[in-house]
Structure formats: structure tokens, C-alpha cells
């Protein structure tokens, strides 16, 4: 064994390990870009082409929507807007929203009373927010709902507390959409649970009834149900008896939503292992105890995504009432651009309306994701 002096090098071993570069960017945004957008020549080419188009159209959209846009015009004089449409640098005519926003939001509701539907919209939204918070999930919430809905009815109809009476056919805009969606889903959901349970019942009469209801309603489009409610149903009534047009449409929406939600709920019921039912029965629980404490909490938790999917679908389906002459948000928007001075500015109105729809639908969608994560925590490992 010979002593190896520290300062002598061993053959074959590099004299001093040269400081090496860290491995080419494995973390950070640059690495992400490289991995996802520029990993091969094909991807690079695609990225560049798409980036070109996106930037180009984003710029022209910003130009159209903000830079060249006209925000208001005096006295319905839309000549400037029309000139802008055909000019080489086209711009949006947001003046149509400035002029018509109150009509789009509240329809033909008396102009001086617009604060009432505005408060109604705020009440509805507050109701959704409160109902969404788990800390308020107590029986008092039902009281809050009842009180709020009564307050909404009083505000819309009036006729008491010094509020002037406003007949239903003057209601319009966003309150109609919210009323149809809220009452529709609030009544359809319990109905759907009953029907879903009924479809799995061992009693033939109830089962057949529930199956017939679901299949009958699912077999026809919502439009034909609305037609039945608005065109055919009044003919069956004795002359002189008229049921409010909005109520008829509302009942049609409830029946339709009920059938679809029932199938969603039934999916949840079927997904539960049989052991849960048997265990509940072994404990000696009654049918309703079993359903209320064991089955439904688990089944509904399973079907949150399709439930919210159906909710969002119905929120937007309420716009179909336009075919029976009810001024919901979309119909009011369409009617706003009927006036000759404002014809041809539909795009601006549709964008404004879609923003409103998007806010509500996106909020529902985000909320359901949170709820799902919250309620299914026990499944996450």
C-alpha cells in the first residue's frame, strides 16, 4: 500500500471536475413551454401558427370591442354607429346597450318601478349564495326561502304596501329567467327524487306511473310541452277561466325538468351497492328513514356532476319561452333590436346577454366542483 498524495492525480480521472451546466431546464415556465408547445418541429410550427391567429384575432377583437367602440349616442341617432359598421376599422356599438339595458334586463315592467325587479334579481342571487354555503344548511334555510320567495312575489306583483299592481304580462327580462329557473328546479328536484324512488318501488302501480311519466316527458321536446301549456291547455278549460301564462309555462318547465332529474337521481340510486340497502334494513330503519339517512345522501353525492349539468341546461332552456310570447332575458334582448333605429346591432346585444348567462352558469359550475370535492373528501386517498 503506497501513500497517495492528495495533490497527485490518478490516471484516467479528470483533473478537476469541470463545473457542469444544470440539466437543460427541467422546471420553470421555459421547460413547460418546451415540453408542451415546442417539443418537436411539428408542435413548434403548430404553436407559431396558432399564436399568430390568436394574437391577430385578439387584437382585432379588442379594437372592435373597446378601441373603436361607440358607447353612447344622443337621442337614438345611430348614424354614427352605422357608419362605424361599414368603415374599414369596424367597432362595436355599445350605445345599444346603454340605451336599451333597462329594457333588456326588465322588459316591459313599468319604467319608474324598475327598482322592484332589480331588487328581485339581487334577492334571487343572495338566495343562491346563502343556499350554497354549507354553514347555512339547516332547517331555517327553508324559512329563508319561503320568506324570500314571498317577498319576491310581493315586489313583482305589488298591490300591497303602497306598491302599484303590475300584471304578469308586463314582467320581463332577467327576473323572468330567474323565476322560471329557480321555481322550476326548486319544485322539479323533490319531484324528481320521488319519481326516481317510485321507479325503483316494488309496487307495480307506482312504478308504472313513474315510468310512464318519465318516458312520456322525455319522449317530447320542451318546445312541444310549452306549446301544449300555452296553446292547447287553455282550450280544454271552460270559457272564461284563464290560468296565468307564466304559471302554465312554469308548470311545463317543472314537469320537464322533473323527468330528466329523476333519471339522474335514479342513476345515483343504482350506483349504490346493495349492501347499503341491506345494512340499513338490518338496522331496522323504516323506508323513509333508510332513504333519508342512508341512501339519498350517498346517492345524491354521487350524481352532483350530472345534476349540475342538468341545472345549467335548464337555466338556459328557460329561454325557449320566447315561442309563447313571454319576455325572458333573451327575448327582451331580441325585441330591443326590433326598433328600426337599433336594427342590426344584434351582436352587441347577444354578447351582453351571453355574459349574464355565463356569470350564472359558470358560478354554478365552479360551485359544483367545490361541493363535489368537499363532499367526496372521504374518497380521496
Amino acid at each position: 500500500m503506497s501513500d497517495i498524495p492528495l495533490n497527485t492525480s490518478v490516471a484516467g480521472v479528470p483533473e478537476a471536475a469541470a463545473p457542469r451546466q444544470p440539466p437543460a431546464l427541467t422546471t420553470g415556465p421555459a421547460a413547460w413551454l418546451r415540453a408542451n408547445l415546442f417539443s418537436s418541429w411539428l408542435n413548434t410550427a403548430m404553436t407559431l401558427v396558432l399564436a399568430y391567429f390568436i394574437v391577430r384575432y385578439a387584437i382585432s377583437f379588442v379594437d372592435w370591442a373597446f378601441v373603436n367602440a361607440i358607447w353612447s349616442v344622443p337621442n337614438n341617432q345611430t348614424a354614427a354607429c352605422r357608419a362605424l359598421k361599414t368603415s374599414p376599422n369596424p367597432g362595436a356599438c355599445w350605445a345599444v346597450i346603454t340605451e336599451k339595458h333597462r329594457f333588456i334586463l326588465f322588459g316591459t315592467y313599468p319604467y319608474e318601478e324598475h327598482w322592484r325587479p332589480a331588487v328581485v334579481c339581487v334577492l334571487f342571487t343572495a338566495l343562491y349564495v346563502v343556499s350554497a354555503m354549507r354553514r347555512f344548511w339547516r332547517w331555517e334555510l327553508a324559512v329563508v326561502w319561503a320568506v324570500t320567495l314571498v317577498a319576491i312575489g310581493i315586489l313583482m306583483w305589488g298591490g300591497v304596501f303602497g306598491l302599484s299592481y303590475v300584471p304578469q304580462e308586463r314582467w320581463g327580462g332577467l327576473p323572468i329567467t330567474l323565476i322560471l329557473a329557480t321555481f322550476g328546479l326548486a319544485f322539479a328536484f323533490p319531484l324528481a327524487i320521488l319519481v326516481a324512488l317510485g321507479r325503483r318501488s316494488s309496487m307495480p302501480a307506482i312504478r308504472v306511473l313513474c315510468i310512464a311519466y318519465v318516458e312520456l316527458i322525455r319522449g317530447v321536446p320542451l318546445i312541444s310541452l310549452l306549446f301544449m301549456a300555452s296553446v292547447m291547455f287553455p282550450l280544454f278549460l271552460p270559457e272564461g277561466i284563464n290560468i296565468d301564462k307564466l304559471l302554465r309555462a312554469q308548470v311545463a318547465v317543472i314537469l320537464f325538468a322533473g323527468a330528466y332529474l329523476a333519471e339522474v337521481v335514479r342513476g345515483g340510486l343504482q350506483a349504490l351497492p346493495k349492501g347499503q340497502y341491506e345494512a340499513a334494513e338490518a338496522l331496522g330503519l323504516s323506508y323513509w328513514q333508510k332513504t333519508g339517512f342512508i341512501i339519498l345522501p350517498q346517492a345524491l353525492r354521487l350524481v352532483i356532476p350530472p345534476l349540475v349539468n342538468t341545472f345549467i341546461g335548464f337555466f338556459k332552456d328557460t329561454s325557449l319561452v320566447l315561442i309563447i310570447g313571454i319576455f325572458d332575458l333573451l327575448t327582451a334582448g331580441k325585441t330591443a333590436v326590433v326598433e328600426p333605429a337599433w336594427q342590426g346591432f344584434g351582436v352587441e346585444v347577444y354578447i351582453a346577454i351571453s355574459v349574464i348567462y355565463f356569470v350564472y352558469c359558470f358560478a354554478m359550475s365552479r360551485y359544483s366542483q367545490n361541493l363535489e370535492a368537499e363532499l367526496n373528501r372521504h374518497r380521496v386517498r
Binding site: 352605422r82 357608419a83 359598421k85 361599414t86 340605451e99 336599451k100 333597462r102 329594457f103 326588465f106 322588459g107 316591459t108 315592467y109 313599468p110 319604467y111 300584471p167 304580462e169 308586463r170 320581463g172 319531484l191 320521488l194 324512488l197 317510485g198 318501488s201 316494488s202 309496487m203 307506482i206 306549446f227 300555452s230 296553446v231 292547447m232 287553455p234 282550450l235 278549460l237 270559457e239 272564461g240 277561466i241 284563464n242 290560468i243 296565468d244 301564462k245 304559471l247 323504516s286 323506508y287 323513509w288 320566447l322 315561442i323 309563447i324 310570447g325 319576455f327 327575448t331 331580441k334 325585441t335 330591443a336 333590436v337 326590433v338 326598433e339 328600426p340 336594427q343 342590426g344 344584434g346
Partner: protein, 351 residues
Amino acid sequence: MKKQPLRLAMLGTIGAVAMTALGVLPAAAQAPAAGGASILDAIKARGTLVCGVNTGLAGFAQPDSQGVWRGFDVEYCRAIAAAIFNDANKVRYVPTTAQSRFTALQSGEIDLLARNTTWTLSRDTSLGLDFTGVNFYDGQGFMVKTSTGVKTAKELEGATICVQPGTTTEQNLTDWARANNVRFTPVVIERLEELVSAYAAGRCDAYTTDVSGLAATRSSQPTPAEHTILPDVISKEPLGPLVRHGDQRFADLLRWTHFALVAAEELGITQANVAQMAANDARPEVQRMLGKNGGLGQMLGVPNEWVVNVLRATGNYGEIFARHLQPIGIQRGPNALWTTPGGQQYAMPFR
């Protein structure tokens, strides 16, 4: 054994839901409206006229930015309300669609329908409804770009024509083309706005609908002079207000309110001078019409000075036309008074 009460409970719940549903409906029913007896009396008892209008048609019926209904048809609702109540604002407007309009009238949801509805034999007879006159003579026509140089509809041989589906418009176009041996390619688009922009963008050579609609579209184009409405009218579309069968007196009132508006134009009575005419004009027909003598109003079941009330609220036929239809580019044409060439608006004598 254990299951029996459960089943009963479930049946009970379902029954309760059904009962609630059934119970809610009659509770929500409105007070009985006009029965078969007298629509006019029911309107008087209710204190408002319920008038079915279009959900939105430029010039004829459309809510303005404040949500107030305005238009040619709306003025007829106001005129009837003024005749009955001497207050043109005692009207509830019910927007109706092309599909729901007749049911709304048949079921008594509305008292009258003033919604650019064409008077046809089948509608007059089989629907149980009565047309009370023609307040607007319309007809289907064509609009082309002026630069194409087309002068008459027969020159549209081989053209592409924009048309809305499912309306009598499409049927009329096909009938006319077959009768005149004109071949054309239809471009069928449901929504009016898209249809107009398709025409404006040059996807079709011509655009066909009722002449009043063509005029409204033309006036909303950036430069109206670039578009020409051809002189050919290929269908008759007489539009007028309707009532349901059962109260001839109410139908009479509608009919004579229209005649009063036309006669007032003929006699030179306007919104501005009606009070003065009623006081001073010595012409016997004016005196009878404005309620000085003859008791004509009473025969209709309304106050004798009903025409004064109507004219004060809406003005005469010409004034209504000038207020709502001329601004969107509709000319008097066949709707001029019968005393002018080509005019067809004619009022029966007031005596």
C-alpha cells in the same frame, strides 16, 4: 306486514303532491274574463282592455326603451280603450307569437287581437273568429340591390331568393314562380336578422317578404337608395284586428272605430283640431260623428262623444300612419284614402 304502512305512506305522499298540484291550479286561475254573453260588458266591468299584439315588429308593435308599447297596431288598442273608457292608457298588452295568437283569443285570454294578421277565409270561419276590417293592405313583394338593374319580378329568372321558412311567404313564392315559369334557388333562413344580413352580404339576389317588412328593412340599411322594392306584389295580405265570435256589439265597435279613424282623415279632423271641430263644424256628418246629434255612440254601447275621445288620443288614420309607418319607409300606397288614386281605405257612412 312491515312494508304495508310504508307503501301507504308513499302513496299518501304522492297523492298529496298530486292534490297540491290540482289545488294550486284553480287557486291561481284569474277571475272569469269575458264569457259568451257580452265581451264589451266584461271589459267595462274589468276596467281595462286586454289587447293581443306582436312580440315585436317594427312600426306595428314594439316596446320602446322604456318598455312602453308603440306602433300602428298598438294605436288601435289605444283607440278602442279611448272609445270605451275615454282613457287610451287603460290597455293591457299581451305579446303573442304567430302560434299562440289564435288560442289566446279563443280562450278569452285577450279581448281582441291587433297583430298584423291576414284575413283569410279559413281563419274567418273555422277558427271561430271575426275579422272586423282591414286597417292595413299588405302584400308580398321583392327587394333587390339597385345595382343589379332588375326592374320587375319576372326578371328574377335563375336568381337566388332569400325567404323565411314555414310561412305563407315561402308558399306564395313557390306558387308565383310556378304560375310565371320563373326558376329560382331559394335560400331559406329562419331568423329575420340573419336573413337580412345574408341578403345584404350578397348571398342572394333578392329578398322576399311582405312589402311593409321590405320597407322597414330597406330603411334600416346603411344606404337605403342601394336597394329597390320591385313594383310587383304577388299576394294579397289584408291585415286587421280580430275578435272571437259571441259578441257582435264588440265587433261592431272595432269596425266602426276603424271607420271613424278613416272618416276623420277624410273630413280633415285631426288630433289637434278635434275639440274645435266638435264645437264649431256645421257639416251634418261631422256633427253626427262627433256626437253632437244622432246618438251613434249609444247604438254601439259607448258614450256619444266616443269619436272625439278616440281622435284626441290617437289622431286620425293618416296621423297614425305618419307617426309609425312612414318613419320606417312605408308609403301610403293602397292604404291611402279612396279619394286618392290607388287608395283603398274607405269608411262607411256615419248616419
